[in-house]
């Protein structure tokens, strides 16, 4: 049964994509939307059926399907094989269910776009590639999906290709993730060389056996980490994600918030046993995650573009997940991944609807007072915002963030034998991040939905777009109650689901830890209300005098750096070498040779000419000379005769 259903899970969106691409221009917008939603919908149903099968089966292991051998050469065997275990099950459910909701929304959102076939073709292809990534039980097979989602992301960011800014944003995203992909590929090469297989299970087993030297494990983990950082837009690769907002909003929701950017988190969670043996890389992951979450939150605080605020917030939330991964609590990372997919998709979709009805205005300071015009959207956005901020008890974000915070508090990094690093500073940063998160997202809420009216809202949100918003709101509010801290009614469904053998220990969790985690977002909400929420707000914008704000607002600091360090030198070198130096040299040599031979030819011809001229000249002159004797004058002839006679006589006499 599972042997059929598991490939079918991937095949349905793929088939929908092919149908949509091939019949482009012949099907109406409605039909295209229906086909795409049906493809993803069947997948969603199948994933639920498969999850039930998995959970009702024996606890250990998962559903394994080997489709066909990919390559078998001496030293490497790779298969196209899928595994549905508990980790991938969570991810598959998120991808298909959130994906389905976003597809339904997009069927309404993109209704009037002429390129709707291309849009849905890419979206369904993306879902298929993402499912390959998630289900793959072989790292090489995972890499197909890994690059496939990158390709779809590229195509969708540059969807409105008439504007060069969009296509250049798309290229930027692809190049930056491609750098990470190459690092990941190097990691795969290293693991394949050391273990002879890329099957995740056997790779992890041979790492656990100690068949890899410690340095090898560290380097492999570092390579994989770089790949994951690039895909998930963490420091130092964060620059592509805000630009990626050039794509249609459903794309931003599906690819650049809920699923693709979390692929890095998923990958590390998948190989967490490998990372557990590479302590320095773990510490690096945690530190980079903490830095990213702080940087993302600070940058989001000074943005004025609604979608960019959400993009920076995504970067920041992914930072939380990397922090959790670095601290070894990958269950918490996956939990936050799931709740984040709910509330960030909700925020993006709501923002898309708001922007659409407000006449494609994305600047939050020109929007404003939309609460009265669109109460439903306001409610949805507030639900998403409070989940993002993690308002205590009533939102899903609270529980997942709480799980990360308590995990970070307990961690100790054993970097060297005598030298351990406590996780408390990281916990402090994460708590500060929670405060800032509430601050920036409620700044956005208060400015856009309260206060003076800005742009006029037009039209209505269609039912097709409304239903997904309702579903996502419910999920973002109540999707988190499956896992609670011990202080509250102790409930650990999610971690028991992921790892039934060894549940996380929450035993020594002080109460004030949970309290701090609950108070930070409330404090952020309060400060945001004071600054921006009251009828006469304390400030419209954060004061712009400080020199750090302006570069931070555009998010250009890193861009400028990249531009200086990579792009410009590359352009310069490419410009310098555009003529192909060896080609130029050889052409030059050829030209020189030709010039030389032409010169020699010229010299030779000149010489011969000169000689010939001289010869003829001499001959003519020589011929001319005797002519002088025949001048027709008798006395000259007589003189010649007399002279000759004299000479002859003289010779005869003298000899």
């Amino acid at each position: 049964m599972a042997e059929i259903l598991l490939p079918l899970l991937v095949l349905c969106p793929l088939a929908a994509s092919l149908v949509v691409f091939i019949s482009a221009g012949r099907m109406g917008a409605r039909a295209i939307g229906t086909v795409a939603c049906a493809g993803v919908g069947i997948s969603a149903v199948l994933s639920i059926i498969l999850s039930v099968m998995l959970l009702s089966g024996p606890v250990a292991g998962g559903l394994q399907v080997t489709l066909w051998p990919w390559m078998r050469v001496a030293g490497l065997s790779a298969d196209i094989a899928f595994t549905l275990d508990r980790i991938s099950m969570v991810m598959v459910l998120v991808v298909t269910i959130v994906g389905l909701l976003i597809h339904v929304y997009a069927a309404g959102y993109m209704r009037d776009d002429p390129g709707i076939a291309r849009f849905f073709g890419c979206m369904t292809l993306f879902v298929a590639a993402m499912l390959v990534l998630v289900l793959a039980s072989d790292l090489l097979c995972l890499f197909i999906g890994w690059e496939g989602v990158g390709l779809c992301s590229y195509l969708l960011i540059g969807f409105w290709y008439d504007d060069p800014a969009n296509t250049s944003a798309a290229r930027k995203a692809f190049y930056m993730t491609r750098m990470g992909d190459v690092a990941l590929l190097c990691g795969l090469l290293l693991l394949a060389c050391a273990t002879g297989s890329l099957r995740i299970g056997s790779v992890l087993a041979s790492v656990a056996d100690g068949r890899l030297p410690a340095s090898g494990v560290n380097v492999a983990a570092a390579f994989i980490l770089v790949g994951a950082l690039a895909k998930s837009a963490q420091i130092p690769f964060q620059a592509w994600l805000p630009d990626a907002m050039a794509g249609p909003t459903p794309t931003s929701a599906l690819i650049h918030a809920a699923t693709m950017v979390t692929a890095g988190v998923y990958l590390i969670a998948r190989v967490h046993d490998l990372f557990a043996m590479a302590a320095p890389v773990m510490a690096l992951t945690a530190v980079l995650g903490a830095l990213t979450l702080l940087m993302g939150a600070c940058t989001a605080l000074v943005q004025s573009d609604l979608k960019r605020i959400l993009a920076w917030s995504t970067i920041s939330q992914l930072g939380y997940m990397f922090l959790a991964l670095g601290c070894g609590v990958w269950q918490a990372a996956l939990f936050h991944l799931m709740t984040h997919a709910f509330f960030k998709a909700l925020l993006f979709l709501t923002a898309g609807a708001v922007i659409m009805r407000a006449g494609h205005e994305q600047d939050i300071f020109r929007l404003g007072g939309l609460r009265r015009a669109m109460p439903g959207l306001t409610a949805a956005f507030v639900a998403g915002a409070s989940a993002l901020a993690g308002l205590p008890l009533v939102t899903a974000g609270f529980y997942s963030k709480e799980m990360i915070l308590s995990g970070v508090w307990h961690v100790h990094f054993g970097l060297a034998r005598e030298w351990t690093l406590s996780g408390h500073p990281l916990w402090g940063i994460a708590l500060l991040g929670a405060f800032l998160t509430a601050l920036y997202i409620f700044r956005c809420v208060f400015i856009v939905f309260c206060g003076k009216a800005g742009t006029r809202a037009a039209g209505r949100t269609s039912r097709l777009m409304g239903i997904p918003l309702v579903c996502l709101s419910v999920l973002s509010l109540f999707g988190g109650v499956i896992e609670m801290p011990d202080t509250l009614p102790s409930l650990h469904l999610f971690s028991a689901l992921l790892d039934p053998g060894t549940p996380l220990s929450h035993a020594d969790e002080p109460v004030w830890l949970v309290l701090a985690g609950a108070l930070a977002p409330l404090a952020g909400l309060g400060v945001a209300w004071v600054l921006w929420g009251r009828p006469s707000p304390v400030m419209r914008e954060i004061p712009g005098q400080a020199g750090v704000i302006r570069p931070a607002r555009t998010g250009r600091g890193m861009d400028v750096l990249y531009d200086r360090v990579f792009v410009q030198p590359f352009r310069l070198l490419a410009w310098l070498t555009r003529l192909d130096i060896p080609g130029h040299a050889i052409t030059g040599t050829g030209r020189l040779t030709r010039a030389a031979s032409a010169g020699i030819l010229g010299v030779r011809a000149g010489l011969l000419d000169m000689l010939a001229m001289r010869a003829t000249g001499t001959a003519r002159w020589a011929g001319h000379l005797p002519g002088l004797f025949q001048n027709g004058r008798v006395r000259w002839y007589a003189a010649w005769i007399a002279g000759g006679l004299c000479a002859g006589l003289a010779m005869a006499v003298l000899s």
């Binding site: 691409f21 482009a24 221009g25 066909w68 051998p69 990919w70 390559m71 078998r72 050469v73 001496a74 030293g75 490497l76 196209i80 090489l140 890499f143 197909i144 890994w146 690059e147 496939g148 390709l151 590229y154 195509l155 540059g158 290709y161 008439d162 504007d163 060069p164 296509t167 250049s168 798309a170 290229r171 692809f174 190049y175 491609r178 750098m179 992909d181 190459v182 590929l185 190097c186 090469l189 290293l190 394949a192 060389c193 070198l573 490419a574 410009w575 070498t577 555009r578 192909d580 060896p582 080609g583 050889i586 052409t587």
Partner: protein, 502 residues
């Protein structure tokens, strides 16, 4: 009937017929297919049937490999027409035929003047290529090696674009000159063998047993290497390639990129690595360095070009760098990767050249600044272009990735540093491929585009077959890897392919 000599002779005879038919019944209107076109198609169909026979029927014979044919030619000098076929030659001949079909079906619009002569030269090149892939007598090999060169130079010189004479001259000089070095090497090997055994022969299998001093082997191997390096091409001697590819008519570009470059890779496997395994192993670090240089340099220059065909030509140099790297990686894995890369690159690049040719037919320019976005006007052509650009940048799941991955893995075992550098080429590949996509296909349309016609659906179906084949190579390469593996020399010979490190 032995299929091997038929395989070699059929194309050139068909070409002669096509020429005659073209002179006897010149076409009435440019759009109509004339008699000579049908003759060419019939020749290719018969050739395919013969090849299928050679592939699937196994006859008993004296040769070491599945296919064998021998006939004395100049007995006094030990020269005989010896043809042998193993999986490597067979798969490359299949590739040649597929590409010829593509050319005949899709790239016929450019050769309007003297179409018969064009087709004769086209098929004569095919004869030379197939002969090169089959010959196991070194003299006959050299004969076919030169034979494929002359008609190709003629095709470029007579039917090419604006700067065709210079390009044809450059192409001819480079390949001819390097061919002479190879001839010297062949003679040197034969004479050494004659001195040792007193037998004068050009037979590949016999010569493989010649015992050589390390220096002598290195010198002889370098002679072969230079000829193949020019053809492949390896970086410092790649200069002829961008000009020749750019100036050639579409069909000739396809043949050049799709097959003629592969003769270089084929020669390196067959003659450098299998004939002189020790010398090749000692030379391997330099060759691999050259391969990595080719990958990076080709990709780098490719991303600075504005001429579409030139961009594709430089990307070929980059891809062929992987082939060189794989051949000299010294393991069977690298060899297989190189072969897979040759097959996938043959298909993908040929399709890209066909698309560039189709664009030039319609817009009369190859300058990417002047082409502008074509997606709105020509969605079919653009989507095909997008697909093959993705194949060129090494998208996993398509054929190129299989080859590149195997080559990189084989390289990583020897030197992780070289493998990392070569993998960096994949980032550069993304740069040139996406630059092309965002200039030509997914871009704002030019203001002054004339109305253009998209590819008709039957042509799109042909492209779809190529795409399906690339996907197959990418997702299920195992049968092809078994099928196209180069067979080792017979057991008495020195070592298997690679034969360098255990």
């Amino acid at each position: 009937m032995n299929p091997l000599p038929v395989l070699v002779l059929l194309p050139i005879m068909g070409g002669g017929l096509a020429w005659g038919a073209g002179r006897m019944w010149p076409r009435a209107s440019p759009s109509m297919r004339d008699a000579s076109w049908w003759v060419v198609l019939a020749t290719l169909v018969v050739e395919t049937l013969v090849l299928a026979m050679a592939t699937f029927s196994h006859r008993a014979h004296a040769g070491p490999w599945p296919g064998h044919f021998a006939m004395p030619w100049i007995p006094a000098m030990g020269i005989a027409v010896r043809l042998d076929m193993d999986g490597l030659s067979l798969s490359l001949i299949w590739l040649s035929l597929i590409l010829c079909f593509l050319c005949v079906l899709l790239a016929t619009r450019q050769a309007t003047a003297h179409a018969g002569a064009f087709r004769f030269l086209f098929l004569a090149t095919l004869t030379g290529v197939i002969g090169t892939f089959l010959a196991t007598d070194l003299f006959v090999f050299f004969f076919f090696w030169e034979l494929m060169l002359v008609p190709m130079a003629g095709l470029i010189a007579a039917w090419g674009h604006e700067d065709r004479q210079r390009a044809a001259m450059k192409f001819f000089m480079f390949t001819q000159g390097s061919g002479l070095v190879m001839l010297l090497s062949i003679l040197g090997l034969v004479i050494t063998h004659y001195r040792q055994t007193g037998v004068l022969t050009f037979d590949y299998f016999t010569l493989a047993h010649t015992s050589l001093s390390p220096t002598g082997a290195m010198l002889l191997m370098l002679g072969f290497f230079i000829a193949f390096a020019v053809k492949l091409p390896v970086v410092p001697v790649h200069v002829w390639l961008p000009d020749a590819h750019t100036q050639a008519p579409t069909a000739a570009s396809v043949l050049l990129a799709g097959i003629l470059l592969k003769t270089g890779g084929y020669g390196m496997i067959r003659f450098n690595v299998m004939l002189f395994p020790d010398a090749a192993a000692r030379f391997a670090p330099i060759a691999m360095g050259l391969g990595v240089a080719g990958i990076l340099y080709g990709a780098w220059l490719s991303s600075a070009q504005d001429d579409v065909k030139r961009l594709i030509a430089y990307s070929s140099i980059s891809h062929m760098g992987f082939v060189l790297l794989g051949i000299f990686a010294g393991s069977r894995m690298g060899m297989l990767g190189a072969v897979m890369q040759m097959l996938a690159h043959g298909l993908g690049t040929a399709a890209l050249f066909l698309i560039a040719g189709a664009i030039q037919d319609r817009l009369h320019t190859r300058d990417m600044h002047r082409i502008g976005g074509l997606w709105a006007a020509m969605p079919r052509l653009s989507s095909a272009g997008l697909f093959f650009a993705m194949a060129a940048l090494g998208m996993p799941g398509l054929g190129n990735f299989t080859g590149e991955f195997l080559v990189l893995l084989a390289t990583w075992r020897i030197s992780p540093l070289l493998a990392t550098l070569a993998a960096t080429g994949l980032v550069l590949a993304a740069i040139y491929a996406l630059r092309m996509v965002n200039r030509i296909f997914l871009a704002a349309p030019q203001a002054d585009t004339r109305p253009v016609t998209d590819l008709p659906s039957w042509q799109m179906a042909v492209f779809a077959c190529v795409m399906a084949f690339l996907v197959l190579l990418g997702l299920y390469p195992q049968p092809f890897m078994i099928f196209s593996a180069p067979l080792p020399l017979p057991a008495t010979a020195m070592a298997g392919p690679g034969g360098t490190t255990p």
